[in-house]
């Protein structure tokens, strides 16, 4: 019961802090034309550790927070991060289970797909977008920065999610026969 209540609270707190840090700090970190995306990294860790449902819900909430804080079109980031969170969660539940490289693969693929998705959505909404800037100038540095931050963010999120939560699993066994 405690776990049922505590898990969403911890996930919500992680997403909130990540979104605030992203819009105030990390968005202005420009290294070789790319900016790290700590919201996506936090979402990746949550989705891998807690599955596709948590991933999708956390992605939706994170997107709403980012769009609200930046006064951008509501729903754009939510749509992208919901799909990203769900996909990463499914990957973690299936082929990525217990694989050491799963966080890195998830981050690399999700960063590229979210960037392409954002370009497509902004184009569809009539925003002025430059595919050259988004895909040629910014994408590679962004993937590299995200990969650099993957391990620390994943470790931090895993530590927070494990905090004050009893381990999952059977506490007693009943012998049959």
């Amino acid at each position: 019961m405690t776990r049922l209540l505590l898990e969403p609270v911890k996930v919500g707190a992680l997403i909130f802090v990540a979104a605030i840090l992203q819009v105030t700090i990390f968005s202005s970190v420009d290294i070789l034309g790319g900016t790290p995306d700590v919201v996506l990294l936090t979402l990746m860790a949550i989705a891998l550790l807690r599955g596709s449902i948590f991933g999708a819900a956390a992605g939706f909430a994170a997107g709403l927070l980012v769009d609200t804080a930046n006064l951008e079109t509501l729903g754009v980031t939510s749509l992208l991060l919901t799909i990203a969170g769900y996909w990463i969660g499914r990957y973690g539940e299936t082929t990525g289970r217990d694989r050491g490289h799963a966080p890195f693969v998830s981050v690399a693929v999700a960063t590229i797909l979210v960037q392409f998705g954002a370009l497509f959505l902004h184009y569809m909404l009539g925003d002025p977008v430059s595919a050259r800037v988004a895909l040629l100038d910014a994408l590679f540095p962004k993937v590299a920065l995200n990969l650099l931050l993957t391990l620390p963010v994943y470790a931090l999120v895993r530590r927070v999610l494990a905090w004050a939560t009893e381990p999952e699993g059977a506490t007693e066994v009943q012998l049959l026969g």
Partner: protein, 275 residues
């Protein structure tokens, strides 16, 4: 579950995109932004020393390839304690803004709202920043934003306590401009590279040379007038060329404002406006 959230996201995009700027979703977003603002301001204050420290080290690396003047500047800066430097820099920045307000270069007929920048562009698609002042300070859509160096951009969205400023480097902004020396006129727009500007629509019959300053033209015509007051510095001409086939000059500008390190800005508010 995920399908429902995707559907809700698409519904949100559709409603937000179709409703007017005073619609219910915009109102909810404005309220949400007001709730998030204290957290953003808090995070900004906590991060500022680290940001300055990062900037200091980045500047140090850059200075190695610069001349002796910049080396001297780095040496001088290295003697300061980073925490004190943070406060001193902010103080100096605000003083420069106030000094600019007191000079004749400040547009007449306007008051100003001094405000810090609290959020930067979330991705490469946007050339906007968010500022910590909105409707309550008398700011409205299409108000002009400047700093001590010159034109920064235009207010494009306003909420209760915050507003979005579209920077001069955004493809959507076009600013009528005037050459201070030759009085040639044209339209400033974003250039090909990030952070660069061009001056378009300058007829061959006019004269433009490298090194000349461009300011806002501030035209008036038959009851209409430019959004931008006259005489706000925009940038300096870095290159001007002509070809036989083109109707206009091909002119590149270097913006006077450093859009990568905006910390405080002034929003120009007409004195005639009820606040």
């Amino acid at each position: 579950m995920a399908g429902v959230l995707v559907f809700v996201s698409i519904v949100l995009i559709t409603i937000y995109f179709r409703e007017p700027s005073g619609g219910s979703l915009h109102g909810i977003q404005s309220g949400g932004a007001a709730v998030l603002r204290p957290f953003e301001v808090g995070a900004e204050r906590v991060a500022r020393p680290f940001r300055d420290a990062y900037g200091w080290f980045a500047g140090l690396v850059h200075a190695k390839s610069e001349n002796a003047r910049l080396r001297g500047e780095v040496d001088r800066l290295s003697q300061q304690v980073i925490a004190n430097q943070t406060a001193a820099r902010e103080n100096a920045d605000l003083k420069r803004q106030l000094h600019y307000v007191g000079t004749t270069a400040f547009p007449s007929g306007y008051d100003y709202v001094a405000t810090p920048v609290i959020a930067r562009p979330p991705s490469e698609f946007q050339q906007q920043v968010d500022i910590a002042a909105g409707l309550t300070k008398g700011i409205r859509k299409n108000d002009v934003v400047v700093n001590k160096d010159g034109l920064v951009g235009l207010v494009t969205q306003v909420a209760h306590d915050t507003a979005q400023v579209t920077l001069l480097t955004d493809p959507t902004l076009k600013v009528p401009a005037l050459d201070l020396t030759t009085k040639a006129t044209g339209v400033v727009a974003h250039g090909q590279g990030p952070g660069t500007l061009i001056l378009d629509r300058v007829l061959k019959s006019q004269t433009v040379r490298s090194g000349e300053w461009m300011v806002t033209a501030g035209w008036k015509s038959e009851g209409l007038k430019s959004l931008y007051p006259k005489g706000i510095p925009i940038g300096v001409v870095t290159g001007a060329s002509l070809t036989d086939l083109s109707l206009y000059w091909d002119i590149q500008l270097r913006p006077r404002v450093d859009f990568g390190s905006l910390q405080n800005v002034l929003v120009l508010v007409p004195k005639t406006r009820q606040r």
